[in-house]
């Protein structure tokens, strides 16, 4: 517990700072208790409850820009961690059979309990080194082409697809442009629309623009409570529209990027609750909550025919858009 509070305090977000005091108190209590001077079990229990309650309180009132911070939290569970917790017998499949393997987007085959499924997702790193290797989860065209290749395996052998979305966007690099970032994403969109197998997308962290959508056209799109999904980052939006990246908070509000907003807009089908204090406070539990939501949404889809699955997906995205006509 000592360790936990220290670890957490080290990466505490601004708005979590009120918890720091409580954690410090908890540390004192446990220190005293560990030294054997006093029996503090009850006090510790109470303090823990207080912390939990404070956390719950804080997390129930997050502003959009605070949610952005949670969605980007360094300790937020990554795709490979979710895969590890949710599935068994994972075999990672590499490469687009064209140019490269992209570590920013991982794919593979796995078992969801007894079901054979294809899994994929953006992969961020934990350390700087890892993040450079993973390109901070920003995929190159090869990532999207690998995903498409593996989606086609799913289709050929009639297995459902589960994707995990967590990227600030597709990588904006020279090579990425040269090798057709636009083409790769566009083709994925068209091909995802035509998939004959059930497809569930889960927005687990940052859902950044075309880079997110590039593996995101699920029959069902689920979203973690404190994930975000938007056409451009709040900073990007602010620097363009308000000529000031620091007004990202306004942009975050204006663009409607939180899970409840997106549920209301019909872009997302279901919100998956996060543990108290956000996914980073309990990765395993988060994974288990995701798993339950996947199974709940997947099972009805398994009963649909190929045609029905395509129609279901087509209708879902076909109706997106708000306009006037008279």
């Amino acid at each position: 517990m000592k360790d936990k509070s220290k670890k957490l305090s080290g990466i505490m977000l601004d708005f979590e700072k009120p918890l720091q005091e409580l954690y410090d108190k908890l540390d004192n209590l446990t220190a005293v208790s560990d030294e054997g001077k006093l029996e503090m079990t009850e006090e510790i229990r109470l303090m823990e409850k207080r912390i939990e309650s404070a956390r719950r309180d804080i997390y129930s009132k997050l502003t959009p820009i605070q949610i952005v911070q949670v969605a980007r939290h360094m300790k937020r569970p990554t795709t490979l961690e979710h895969i590890d917790s949710i599935f068994t017998d994972f075999v990672e499949l590499h490469g687009d059979r064209n140019f490269a393997d992209d570590p920013a987007l991982v794919t593979g085959i796995a078992k969801l309990d007894s079901r054979s499924v294809v899994v994929m997702g953006h992969q961020k790193g934990r350390t700087t080194k890892e993040n450079i290797y993973r390109r901070f989860g920003m995929a190159n065209p090869e990532g999207y082409r690998k995903a498409l290749r593996v989606m086609r395996i799913a289709e050929r052998y009639n297995k459902p697809i589960i994707s995990f979305i967590d990227t600030s966007g597709a990588y904006p690099g020279i090579g990425a442009e040269e090798r057709g970032q636009a083409e790769a994403i566009a083709k994925n969109l068209r091909e995802m629309a035509e998939l004959t197998v059930p497809f569930i997308a889960v927005v687990t962290g940052e859902g950044g623009s075309g880079g997110a959508l590039g593996i995101g056209m699920g029959n069902r799109v689920l979203m973690l409570e404190f994930a975000i999904y938007s056409v451009i980052s709040p900073e990007g939006c602010a620097s363009i529209l308000f000529r000031d990246a620091k007004r990202a908070n306004e942009a975050a509000v204006a663009m409607k990027i939180t899970a409840p907003d997106l549920l209301e807009l019909g872009v997302v089908d279901e919100i998956i609750k996060e543990p108290i204090g956000g996914a980073h406070s309990d990765g395993k539990l988060t994974s288990h909550l995701i798993k339950a939501a996947i199974i709940k949404n997947l099972d009805p889809l398994l009963k649909l025919s190929h045609r029905e699955l395509i129609a279901d997906r087509y209708n879902k995205f076909r109706k997106m858009g708000v306009f006037l006509e008279d």
Binding site: G169, A170, Y171, P172, G173, I174, A176, E177, E178, R179, G180, Q181, A182, E183, I185, A186, K187, L189, R190, E191, A193, E194, S209, G210, L213, G214, G216, M217, Y229, S230, V231, I232, G236, C237, S239, I240, L241, F242, A254, M255, K256, I257, L262, L265, V267, R313, Y314, F317, R318, M320, G321, V322, F323, L324, E325, D326
Partner: protein, 286 residues
């Protein structure tokens, strides 16, 4: 991400917008080429399909100009002219989105950044969508997506090939996530077209970037580009900021994309109608 660019370009490189305005003013008989500086008599420029006779710079065109240049006279029948944008997010930056729409409609006499319809090109029927950069930088919101989806569905029903001319800075930020979803919607419609066995020709004109390039603009059975058009996913400035490095010359221009395998034909505006008619004829005849 690349709508980014659109705004920045709007502030800095005002050239194409100005051009249009100048040409619209009667009595403004001379135009200066934005690339080579050549003074061109307006009527000559018009007669030359708005291509600089000296340096071949392709000026941007309005949807109306495109129709006049490409389509058999009198055959264009617009569909869905009344679909208009709605400020459903009540989005406000320096100005409310609702006001922006209003102003753009007034200024351009378009209902949004795309005109769609059926037509004949060299006597061959086609479903045609033409984006117009002068309407909010050709940005793709719900209206553009809806009109494209309807155009494609009409093509499926009437068994027509689809042609879309893109000219767009990308997604329309003021519609938030919904503009992103138009990428999915239009691409899905193209998937249906493909399944129906009907061809699609994409024509990328300056600029074709962001969400537009990452959806319908790159999905042609055949992708055509006008010379020197800016075509890409991320905007040049975003890339420079990310990689902290200068971009190579010609980067994200039509010829560059041809070399990198993304474009089938870089087609001078004078050849565009002929090329299109050959392609349509090829698809039509057994």
């Amino acid at each position: 991400m690349s709508i980014h660019e659109w705004f920045k370009r709007k502030q800095k490189a005002k050239e194409p917008v100005q051009t249009r305005e100048r040409l619209d003013i009667p009595g403004n008989l001379w135009v200066k080429c934005y690339k080579c500086g050549q003074a061109i008599f307006s009527r000559d420029l018009e007669a030359n399909l708005k291509v600089c006779p000296k340096c071949q710079y392709h000026f941007r065109l309005t949807a109306g100009e495109r129709i006049r240049q490409l389509v058999d006279e009198g055959t264009f029948k617009e569909i869905d002219p009344k679909v208009r944008s709605r400020d459903f997010l009540e989005f406000k930056d320096s100005r409310p989105y609702a006001k922006r729409i209003e102003a753009s409609i007034l200024k351009s006499s378009l209902s949004d950044a795309i005109v769609t319809g059926t037509c004949q090109i060299a006597k061959q029927p086609a479903a045609l969508g033409i984006m117009d950069f002068s309407f909010m930088g050709g940005s793709m919101g719900s209206v553009v997506g809806e009109k494209i989806a309807r155009l494609i569905e009409l093509a499926c029903e009437k068994k027509l090939p689809v042609i879309i001319l893109s000219a767009s800075g990308g997604a329309r930020m003021q519609e938030g996530i919904m503009s992103l979803m138009q990428m999915a919607k239009t691409s899905a419609a193209l998937g249906k077209l493909r399944e129906t066995g009907l061809p699609y020709v994409s024509i990328c004109t300056d600029p074709t970037t962001g969400g537009t390039s990452a959806s319908y603009a790159m999905l042609g059975d055949i992708n055509i580009a006008e010379p020197n058009a800016l075509i890409g996913f991320a905007g040049p400035r975003v890339i420079e900021q990310t990689i902290r490095q200068k971009l190579p010359p010609g980067f994200q221009r039509s010829e560059y994309l041809l070399e990198h395998g993304m474009i089938d034909v870089v087609c001078h505006r004078k050849e565009l109608r002929l090329t299109l008619s050959r392609i349509l004829n090829w698809f039509n005849e057994r």
